[in-house]
């Protein structure tokens, strides 16, 4: 399941931040590597919520800095 979550996370990140999926890796940092400004981070959280039909705590979610950690964070919400 983690693999499926990873794929969907990468798809959402690519769509929201206008990137190619190939540019996005587990260790990619949203702000430093992927150029997510703080404004986009908030909408990225909403985009994850939409994709996975979950609700996330905004403050906790904004502490997640990398794509890999986002996959883990979201997978925990799906359990």
């Amino acid at each position: 399941m983690a693999g499926d979550v990873r794929e969907r996370v990468i798809k959402v990140v690519a769509e929201t931040l206008n990137l190619e999926a190939g540019q996005i890796h587990d260790e990619s940092k949203f702000v430093e590597d992927l150029g997510a400004e703080s404004m986009q981070s908030v909408e990225l959280i909403a985009a994850f919520e939409e994709e996975f039909d979950i609700e996330m705590d905004e403050e906790e979610a904004l502490d997640v800095k990398t794509v890999g950690k986002a996959v883990d964070f979201i997978a925990a919400h799906l359990d």
Partner: protein
């Protein structure tokens, strides 16, 4: 009349609406009641209706005359979602999720003219309020940097009682670039225009007065001055000034030989960075016994305000009155 009472009285003369997104908070409910009872503003509380009603009843506060809106159930959700995505490449379902969040719903109420102002921050961090503001009401024309200011009331300034000053930016931008500093100065002038009894005269502060010292930090302030003059030619702004030259006429006259509408008479003080701004406001507050009211957000297309997490009911009412004075 104190400066605060003046804004309260001003608010009573107008019937304005404030949206309070943190509707379940005890202090927010009590503040909404007080605003209604004293005629300062009509408040709209956002949140789950049952929870707000239960909370109010536990507090012994009646809610008559106070509107409660649950963003998730609101008939305005479609309209606000459409307005939120307008002109942007954003999935409407994602936008809808954004707009259901109280801070964003409140921001859209202001953006769409259903409320005059939004006051939030007893639970949400400042950064969240700023983000919601940028994404909903947006920034004022020509401004790209949200910032903040304090209204400082000096009990006895050179013989003048209760003298108000605007200090900026003492809370948001840590190391503003010249362009950001220019935005802070322009937004602060606008805030001063709404809140000060006199015409705003803006000083860009430094450790140097008109080239008395050479340093990249001084150049930085002067670049900001050039940018302000390009962006808003009619502003009364000057610098770089040391603080004494900015506010004391005799010192200003001694240190500055060229004509200036600001020197010695500034009432809007722009600090070069957050170090100096934050230190200055706290020293003024405690050493001069000044009242520091704020921080207020500025630079937005419509007035929105942050609250500190420790804000009292009095603070919330006062902040709302001052925020509405900017409408």
């Amino acid at each position: 009349m104190s400066v605060l009472s003046r804004f309260m009285e001003q608010a009573k003369q107008r019937s304005l609406t404030v949206v309070l997104p943190e509707g379940q908070d005890d202090r927010i409910i009590a503040a909404a009641r007080r605003m209604k009872d004293e005629g300062i503003a009509s408040a709209v509380l956002l949140g789950d209706r049952q929870k707000i009603e239960a909370q109010a009843s536990a507090l012994g506060v009646g809610l008559d005359g106070i509107e409660i809106v649950d963003p998730a159930q609101s008939g305005k959700l479609d309209e606000y979602t459409a307005a939120y995505v307008k002109g942007r490449d954003l999935n409407p379902n994602v936008a809808r999720r954004m707009v259901k969040r109280p801070l964003y719903f409140g921001g859209m109420m202001v953006a769409q003219g259903d409320a005059h102002s939004m006051v939030a921050g007893v639970a949400a961090p400042t950064a969240f309020v700023i983000q919601a503001g940028v994404l909903t009401v947006g920034l004022a024309e020509g401004i790209r940097t949200p910032s903040s200011f304090f209204l400082m009331i000096i009990p006895d300034f050179q013989g003048q009682k209760q003298k108000p000053f605007i200090y900026a930016d003492c809370a948001v931008n840590i190391a503003p670039t010249p362009s950001e500093l220019a935005d802070i100065a322009i937004a602060s002038e606008k805030s001063g225009r709404k809140l000060l009894p006199e015409e705003p005269r803006v000083a860009l502060l430094s450790f140097s007065t008109k080239g008395s010292a050479s340093h990249v930090n001084v150049d930085h302030v002067n670049e900001a001055l050039v940018l302000v003059k390009q962006r808003a030619a009619d502003l009364k702004i000057d610098g770089e000034f040391q603080a004494d030259a900015a506010i004391i006429p005799s010192v200003g006259a001694k240190k500055v030989k060229q004509p200036s509408e600001v020197v010695g008479n500034a009432n809007v003080l722009i600090f070069p960075d957050l170090n100096s701004g934050n230190i200055a406001y706290k020293l003024t507050q405690y050493m001069a016994g000044a009242k520091a009211i704020g921080p207020f957000l500025q630079g937005f297309a419509k007035p929105i305000s942050d609250l500190s997490r420790g804000a009292s009911v009095d603070d919330i009412v006062a902040t709302t009155a001052i925020c509405l004075a900017q409408v």
